[in-house]
Amino acid sequence: MSDVRQVLREANAEAVHRMLAAEPVLIDVVAAADAIPELGEGMILHAGPPISWERMCGPMRGAVAGIAVFEGWANDLDAAAALAARGAFQFRPNHDFAAVGPMTGMTTASQPVMVVENQASGNRAFCTINEGLGKVMRFGGNDASVLTRLAWLRDVLGPALGTALRSSEGIELKSLVARGLTMGDEMHQRNVACSSLLLRSLAAALASTCGDRAILTTILSFIASNDQFFLNIAMAMGKAITDPVRDIKGASVVTAMSRNGTDFGIRVSGLGDEWFTAPVEMPDGLYFPGFSAADANPDMGDSTIIETIGLGGFAMAAAPAVAGFVGAGAPSNAAQITHTMREITLAENPEWTIPALDYQGVPTAIDIRRVVETGIAPMINTGIAHREPGVGQVGAGVVRAPLACFESALWALGKRLGVT
C-alpha cells in the first residue's frame, strides 16, 4: 500500500475512533465570558464561517443590533447598526471558541451558555440557551420582548440551571440521545422526546436547588413549553464530540459544517481550522400558513454540527415524520435517506441505533472523498427563517451542503498530502 493510502487510512481510523469514543456530559451553565475568556466588550460571536457586516443577511444584522443593545454597547437598534457598519464590533465565528449557536447564533459576554464536557478527551463546548418559539433573537428578533427574555435567561433561568447541574453529576447525553432516537427524535428538527427526557432528569435538581416557587414555576413551564429546548444542548454536544477530531494529519473526515445565512462552510480534520465555503443553498420545505418560499431566508446556523455527528438528516430513518417534508419525500423514504447518507460516511455509531433499521447505527464521520466521489451531499434537516429580521420561523424542510465545499477541501487535502 502506498504511503498516502496508509496515512489516510490510519488518520481516518483515528478520527472515527475519537468521534465514537466521546463521552459528552452537560455539566453547567455559566456566563459566556467565564467560559470564553476572550469575549469582551464589542466582541460578537456568530453562526457560520467568518463574515463581515456588509455581507450579513437581514436576520443576522437584526440579531447583531439587538445583542449590542442587550449588552449595553448601544442605546438603540439604529445606533447599534451604525456602530456595526463603522466596524466597532469584532465578529468571529462561534466555532473558533469551542462554541456553536443556532440560526443567527449570537454569543456575547453576558449571555448564559450551557457547558458540555467531553469526558473522554477533556474538552468543553458551549451553546446559548434556546429562547423558545416565535419572535426570538436567533431569527433576528430584537425588540423589547426579545431583550427582556434574554435578560430573564441571563438572570433567572441560566443561573438556576447552572446551580441544578452543579448539584448533580451532570447529565450524560449519549444515552439520552440514544433513547430519543427510539422515540422519534433526530435531534435537529425533532427534539421533543429528548427535551422531555432532559426535563425529567433536571426536574428534581431544579426543584431542590431553586428556593422560589414562582421562579421555579416559570422555569419549568418555559422548558416544558419548548419542544426544541434540547436542540442547543445537542449542538454543544456535537461540538464537544468533533473538536478533538480536528488536526489529525491526513484525515478526510469533516469536523464542522456551518452557515451564516450567506456562506456555507466546512472544516476537515486534516486541514485544521481552514474553512471551505460556498454560497448557502435555499431550503426546500413546507411553510406555515401565510408564508411561502418567497419569504425564506437562506440557510443559517451552526446546527449542522448535528448532522456532522450522524444525527438530524442522517438519522432520518428514526424520524420518518420529518421525511414528510417536501424535498425529502414520503415518510417511507426516511430509511433510504439514512442509507444514502451511509454512503458518504466511514462508520456507524453502535451506541446510537435506529430500531426501524434493525438497530443499524447512525452514519457517522462524513468523508469528503466519498461526498465528492458519489456526488451525494449531506442532507440537513432545518428550520426556515423569514428573510426579514424578527419575524421568526416560517417553515421547515431540508437543505443540502454545497458540493463545492467538499471539492475545494479535497483539492486542499491532495495538495497537503503531496499528490497534486
Binding site: 500500500m1 498516502v4 493510502r5 496508509q6 489516510l8 487510512r9 490510519e10 481516518n12 481510523a13 483515528e14 472515527v16 475512533h17 475519537r18 465514537l20 469514543a21 478526510s252 466511514l346 462508520a347 456507524e348 455509531n349 453502535p350 447505527g361 457517522t364 472523498r369 465528492v372 466521489e373 458519489t374 456526488g375 458540493l403 471539492e407 479535497l410 483539492w411 487535502l413 491532495g414 498530502l417 499528490v419 497534486t420
Partner: protein, 73 residues
C-alpha cells in the same frame, strides 16, 4: 488515544486477501455495476444479484476523479 491497527466499530471489513473468494463454487453472487438489463436477466433466473445505482465519480469531472483515485485507500 489508542493507535489503530484494528478497525473501529462500524467500519466495513475488507476481505482477507490470502483466501480469495471462489469464483466457481456454488451459484454466482453478483454485484452489477452498469447496464441494468444484465441484473434483470440474472434476477429472472433466480441468481443472487444486486444492482448498483451508479453515476460517474465526481459527477464526471475527470480531474477530480483522478485526484480521488490518488486519495483512495
Amino acid at each position: 488515544m489508542s493507535k489503530t491497527s484494528e478497525l473501529p466499530p462500524g467500519q466495513s471489513p475488507q476481505r482477507v486477501k490470502d483466501t480469495p473468494v471462489s469464483l466457481i463454487q456454488g451459484s454466482p453472487r453478483v454485484i452489477n455495476v452498469g447496464l441494468s438489463g444484465f441484473a434483470e436477466a440474472l434476477a429472472a433466473q433466480g441468481v443472487a444479484v444486486i444492482q448498483v445505482d451508479w453515476s460517474p465519480p465526481a459527477r464526471g469531472d475527470a480531474d477530480l476523479a483522478t485526484l480521488l483515485s490518488k486519495l483512495s485507500d
